[in-house]
């Protein structure tokens, strides 16, 4: 199971979906869109400024994928429902030029496929076979449906594009602000808060609210879009980290001594004394777990829905102050001073994996939302990107003039790094491929040293907490442009939030299900299956699933004599044996062929002398 769905991309906003109608409207979009797409194609109309930051919320954003539909008219043939039933005659006698359901490109469908058909299955009986076929057909249908609803994802990400030879990293924030519309420009702001020290910050899951925590006790929560302050207090104690819980109504603050939980009025609700000397906080939204890393070396999971501590794990690696979560599988990554990154789940007492990443200590870790890449930076001034899909090998590495103290991934896979008082952002060719560290996409210098970094969800904004306050940067193309209205809706009302909260609590995932590969939960527990099978055989004294030995049928007219019975039995036995021999011979031949292949070169007459 997947604890973290890709917001928006998989799931269309369900509320916004138009109800399915009986009558299919005529589709003229294929002809229409091409001119509009060309008209609004990136950067062409404004020639005086070639770099055009495309604010992702612009309602007139064109859908670039549409032309691709027409370009690749490869249509799935299988589902009979939308198989074109032939030219239909209407009352007027005109023929529908686009009869039947709209074609769906195979590529898009492939994105939603779940079953890998290339994997061979062991031969099955007819009953099982029919079930399998049914399941496959269902899956295909569903993926086609999902592909079809991609259409509803109206927004599209855009990037800064430099003139040929122009470096996007040289574009300053001021330039971007000047170029974008007023609404987007308002998203860039600076809060000068020099009094209460370096700031940590956290955006709520909907991306609407921002919580600030100054080292010297300043805690504030605000609706950063409207700039409406929700609460502002001074806790009169050092604040190490701050984090929203499942909704913006609750706020966890790691203070000098204990963990405190405030509501959005700034009223202290709880003081969790079992979590003391916390340095970093992480919230796992689907499990309702607040993961805390402490100075004492403990990683503690607190279930905020019931207020119980689920697990307290001793990392045995001294002080913990580098922590992040993998949004894909909710595994917590801890960075240690011996250059390793360890992966933890509350169900296991020992780390799921330990990866040696750096020669010096690890300073920062970040995992991208798809859970495929992990970026680490160490005291050896290296920034590395690791592949998290099983191999844990470094994909790319780069030495930075100053090591990166903070790292953050955006929803679309941009990587931000805080180097002293400079923020560097790297972009990749796509969300699936990791960021390429060749040249930075954007850079920005701040008023003070960076202390906290986070990309705002669903907004092209990077929040940076530093010693001089908080800065909200514009980073075109950082966030997912389409949000799931049911899952995390930035515009939701209070009532909607309450509704969502109940649903989320009902769908809470148990903490013990956190593991490296969440898909493994959909597999049969082979170990206990075998064990049970063995026990059953032991209990019964025979294997009930074993093939019964051949018993010849009784025949009449004296043909069922003992001798003939034995003969028939022997015949079957011999046949089986021959089958076996044939198979083994075939295998041997195959092996021989495989061996013979790699030699490649023409056999020489002199080969016979080679010993």
């Amino acid at each position: 199971m997947e604890t973290a769905p890709k917001p928006g991309s998989d799931v269309p906003p369900k509320k916004d979906r138009p109800q399915a109608k009986r009558k299919k409207p005529r589709r003229y979009w294929e002809e229409e869109t091409t001119p509009t797409a060309a008209g609004a194609s990136p950067g062409r109309p404004r020639k005086q400024k070639n770099r055009e930051p495309r604010p992702q919320k612009s309602k007139s954003a064109p859908i670039q994928k549409k032309p691709r539909f027409s370009r690749k008219p490869q249509v799935l043939k299988k589902p009979q429902e939308w198989k074109s039933p032939g030219p239909q005659r209407s009352l007027s006698g005109a023929q529908d030029p686009f009869a039947g359901p709209a074609p769906v490109p195979v590529e898009v469908v492939r994105k939603f496929r779940r079953i890998d058909k290339s994997k061979k299955l062991p031969p099955s009986k007819s009953k099982a076979q029919s079930r399998l076929e049914a399941a496959e057909a269902e899956e295909e249908e569903i993926s086609v449906k999902a592909a079809r609803s991609e259409l509803l994802l109206a927004e599209e990400p855009g990037f800064l594009e430099g003139e040929d030879g122009e470096d996007t990293a040289r574009i300053r924030q001021a330039d971007i602000v000047e170029a974008v519309d007023i609404a987007s420009a308002a998203k860039h702001f600076d809060l000068n808060l020099r009094q209460f020290g370096p700031y940590r910050l956290n955006y709520s899951r909907t991306g609407r609210h921002l919580a600030l925590g100054g080292r010297r006790g300043h805690v504030a929560a605000l609706d950063w879009v409207t700039k409406k302050l929700m609460c502002e207090i001074n806790v009169m104690e050092a604040v190490r980290d701050i984090r929203f819980l499942h909704s913006e109504a609750l706020l966890a603050v790691a203070q000098n001594r204990w963990l405190h939980i405030y509501d959005n009025q700034g009223i202290e609700l709880h003081c969790v004394r079992r979590c003391d000397r916390i340095t970093r906080l992480e919230f796992l939204p689907f499990h309702f777990l607040l993961a805390t890393a402490s100075e004492t070396g403990f990683l503690t999971y607190l279930d905020v829905s019931v207020g119980k501590i689920v697990a307290a794990l001793n990392a045995r690696a001294g002080r913990l102050d580098v922590m992040t979560q993998n949004p894909y599988n909710a595994v917590v990554h801890l960075g240690h001073s011996n250059g390793t990154v360890s992966l933890w789940s509350p169900a296991m007492k020992e780390p799921l994996a330990k990866i040696l990443c750096h020669r010096g200590g690890v300073r920062a870790v970040a995992v991208d939302p798809t859970g495929t890449h992990m970026a680490t930076s160490g005291l050896d001034h290296q920034l590395k990107i690791f592949d998290l899909r099983g191999t844990f090998q470094p994909l790319s590495a780069r030495t930075l003039p100053q090591g990166a103290g903070h790292l953050a991934f955006s929803q679309r896979g941009l990587l931000a790094a805080g180097l002293g008082d400079v923020v560097n952002i790297w972009a990749g060719s796509g969300a699936a491929s990791g960021p390429s560290l060749e040249r930075p996409y954007l850079t920005h210098r701040l008023a003070g040293h960076v202390h906290g970094l986070q990309f705002c969800p669903f907004e092209d904004v990077l929040g940076v907490g530093h010693s001089g306050g908080v800065t909200s940067m514009l980073v075109p193309g950082a966030a997912e442009p389409n949000f799931d209205g049911l899952e995390s809706n930035p515009y939701r009302s209070r009532k909607q939030r309450q509704e969502w909260e109940v649903k989320a609590l009902l769908e809470k995932v148990p903490a013990e299900l956190i593991c490296l590969d969440p898909r493994a939960l959909a597999e049969v527990d082979v170990v206990s299956l075998e064990q049970e099978k063995k026990e059953r055989i032991e209990r019964l004294g025979y294997d009930p699933e074993a093939k019964a030995p051949f018993q010849p049928k009784p025949k009449q007219k004296g043909r069922s004599s003992t001798a003939s019975l034995v003969k028939r039995k022997k015949k079957v036995m011999d046949e089986e044996h021959r089958d076996k021999v044939r198979q083994s011979l075939k295998q041997q031949q195959q092996q021989k062929q495989e061996k013979a292949k790699p030699t490649g070169a023409r056999p020489s007459a002199l080969d016979r002398f080679v010993r």
Partner: protein, 721 residues
């Protein structure tokens, strides 16, 4: 014998004080004289004398030859009866009477008691038989040592007689003073012993030690032989200590302290002190003759010569840390290392910091910093000669990473084939030369790297290194693993040797890692803001940090950890050998290899570890049992293999992962009933039985007229369903 007796008697005679002893002897001799009259008796006597010559003094029974009135009871013989005469027989009257019986009983009781042994005759004591005895006897008597009256010897008596009264008084006073002084001294010692102040005792001990040292020095100058003897004594003390284990923590006191030590700091210290003392005492002391050459060189070497008291003080200066003792021995090697700092700067630094322990951590840091400075300057010098600029630094960093990985590879290799190790070490020197020839600039850049134990150790590794180098020169972009593999393959044709390829296949994963882990080759394309920052100073700092972290070997620690994890996850063999069963057992005796082999149950090797080919990763092999509780553990009916079943449950059905329509379709119930719809109980017809379906149908068929429209509709619906 008789001669000696004669001499004795002579001596005895000479002493007037012992005259009284003699008469017995005389009487004996006189009784002998009596019997001389008869010839026959003479003969008897002779026989007696001869028989007594053998040294044993036998009491011969005198033979009664004439009747007399007086019959001595001692002379009654039982010769005629042929058996031993018993006293009780004598008491026996001819007629038994009751009164005598009581007496008899008494007699037997007396007899059963052991006779009291009388003290021997004085003469018997004084008889000196052996030459030693004689000598002693002589000595005693020469000095006129009083034997009977031990108050004053004759000599003393004479001297007393010779002294005047005043002299005697003076002497007595002297003696009295001496006695008083002694008692005072004893009292003081007792008092001092009772003092509880540790410091006082410490000071006292110190003073004593100093004194002893001084004395010893003096003695050595004056009398080397005596000093040697003293040393021997020390050695003996050491041996005794080793034998007795007196200062080990095994004594009663030590045990009590050990219990206290957990709570009491002083007790802990005391224990440590004792241990240190044990260490000292059991330490081998250098012989003076051996250490004489060294004495001129170092003053410290003279230390072992001094007595252990002094050693103890020395130990206190150093602290009880046993490691400090090593310091002295390593001092000798230190200067050599410092002569060529290029080669072994790091170990030298270590030692220096160790020896200058007293200077504190600040000094240590200074030293380290200085070293770093030195190395950096060296590197810069070499950098001037070599390629200048950012690519150079890049190269160095990549080299470092390479060396790391080479180390990793080597470690793995070692695990794989331990047997080839000697050969490798033999080839080591050659390989180093090779490295120098291949890339002299880099070698100069990183003397430290080469100094590490994990340098290129085999020739094939070197080849790989060379290949790496050429790869870097070409500046091939490296992005992903897959791409890398593709790129290296065409590159291979440079040195396209099939053998090489074979080797590559063997080490494919490591090679893979090597290529992926190196940083991107292109020069730093840093944007303006960052470029401003990056000046020389910055680079210097970076270098410094890199060097600072070069010391702690993260990789080795990680490999060690991984090895431990692998060991821990391996299934353990079950050893069922009973030591001592069927053969001799006891401390230090092991069951024979044959027996162990026979009773060792080997567990089958589990599946290979997931991180077998990933040198930088430890993956936990533990099963998540909490998650397993939620997994399917029974294969449902039509499926015969779990993979088949898994395929049917692979698609998620939740609304989070599906569109609304798909979700609805996936979760739609199989049977939908409208509210208010009557659900009839199941009939055989529904299930598909024909035979028993008659009952229901028959009702319908018998009176079809009675069926209303509604019923008809229902029937129709049923059949449709």
């Amino acid at each position: 014998m008789s001669g000696s007796r004669a001499a004795e008697s002579l001596l005895a005679l000479s002493q007037q004080e012992e005259l009284e002893d003699l008469p017995k002897d005389d009487s004996l001799s006189s009784s002998e004289d009596e019997g001389d009259s008869d010839g026959e008796r003479k003969h008897q006597k002779l026989l007696e004398a001869i028989s007594s010559l053998d040294g044993k003094n036998r009491q011969k029974l005198a033979e009664r030859s004439e009747a007399s009135l007086k019959v001595s009871e001692f002379n009654v013989s039982s010769e005629g009866s042929g058996e031993k005469l018993v006293l009780s027989d004598l008491l026996k009257p001819i007629k038994t009477s009751s009164s005598v019986a009581a007496v008899k009983k008494q007699l037997t009781r007396v007899k059963s008691k052991k006779t009291v042994e009388l003290p021997l005759h004085r003469e018997e004591i004084e008889r000196a038989r052996t030459p030693l005895e004689q000598e002693i006897f002589n000595l005693l008597h020469k000095n006129k040592q009083p034997v009977t009256d031990p108050l004053l010897t004759p000599v003393e008596k004479a001297s007393l007689k010779a002294m005047s009264l005043e002299e005697a008084k003076m002497r007595r006073a002297e003696l009295q003073r001496a006695r008083a002084l002694q008692s005072y001294y004893e009292a003081r010692a007792r008092r001092e012993k009772k003092i509880k102040s540790k410091k006082y005792h410490k000071v006292l001990k110190k003073g004593k030690a100093k004194q002893a040292l001084k004395d010893f020095e003096k003695l050595r100058k004056v009398n080397p032989a005596a000093a040697l003897e003293e040393l021997e004594k020390l050695e003996k003390a050491r041996m005794m200590e080793r034998m007795s284990l007196k200062h080990q923590n095994s004594g009663k006191w030590a045990k009590s302290k050990a219990i206290m030590a957990r709570y009491d700091l002083e007790a802990r210290q005391a224990m440590q002190e004792q241990l240190a003392r044990n260490k000292e005492l059991t330490q081998k002391i250098q012989r003076a003759s051996e250490s004489e050459e060294e004495e001129e060189g170092a003053g410290e070497e003279g230390e072992p010569l001094v007595p252990d008291v002094v050693n103890e003080v020395q130990a206190k200066v150093n602290g009880p840390n046993p490691w400090m003792f090593r310091n002295q021995s390593s001092d000798a090697t230190e200067p050599e290392i410092q002569e060529d700092p290029d080669e072994g700067a790091e170990p030298a630094g270590h030692e220096a910091s160790e020896s200058e322990d007293e200077e504190g951590p600040v000094a240590e840091e200074d030293i380290l910093l200085k070293e770093f400075e030195e190395r950096r300057s060296l590197r810069q010098k070499s950098g001037l000669s070599g390629p200048v600029g950012s690519p150079e630094t890049k190269d160095s960093s990549s080299q470092e990473v390479l060396s790391e990985l080479r180390a990793l590879a080597q470690k793995l290799n070692k695990e794989n084939h331990r047997s080839g190790r000697q050969e490798v070490s033999a080839a080591r020197t050659g390989t180093i030369l090779e490295v120098q020839r291949d890339e002299p600039a880099e070698e100069q850049e990183e003397p430290l790297l080469l100094q590490r134990p994990e340098r290129a150790q085999t020739l094939d590794e070197l080849e790989k290194l060379g290949r790496e180098g050429c790869l870097q020169n070409k500046e091939l972009p490296r992005a992903a693993v897959e791409g890398q593999r593709l790129k290296t393959n065409p590159n291979n044709h440079l040195g396209a040797i099939p053998k090489e390829k074979k080797r590559k296949e063997q080490m494919i994963d490591l090679q893979n890692l090597l290529t992926t882990k190196s940083p991107s080759v292109k020069s730093l394309a840093v944007p303006t803001t960052v470029e401003e920052l990056e000046d020389e100073e910055e680079r210097d700092q970076r270098q410094m940090i890199k060097e600072a972290f070069a010391g702690d070997d993260v990789i080795r620690d990680f490999l060690k950890e991984k090895r431990e994890a692998v060991e821990a996850s391996k299934p353990k063999d079950v050893d069922l050998t009973l030591p001592g069963w069927g053969e001799w057992g006891g401390v230090g005796l092991k069951p024979s290899a044959k027996k162990r082999r026979r009773f060792l149950i080997k567990t089958p090797e589990g599946p290979p570890r997931k991180d077998k080919n990933l040198p930088n990763v430890i993956l936990s092999e533990q099963r998540n049992i909490h998650a397993a509780a939620h997994q399917v553990r029974v294969l449902p009916y039509p499926f015969t293999h779990h993979q088949q079943f898994e395929r049917t449950i692979q698609t998620p059905i939740g609304s989070t992962w599906n569109t609304q329509r798909a979700f609805q379709k996936l979760t739609a119930p199989k049977v939908v009933t409208k509210p208010g719809h009557i659900i009839k109980p199941i009939t055989a017809e529904d299930v598909g039985y024909r035979s028993s379906s008659r009952s229901d149908l028959s009702v319908v068929q018998r009176n079809p007229k009675r069926l209303s429209i509604r019923h008809k509709k229902q029937l129709k619906q049923n059949s449709v369903d």
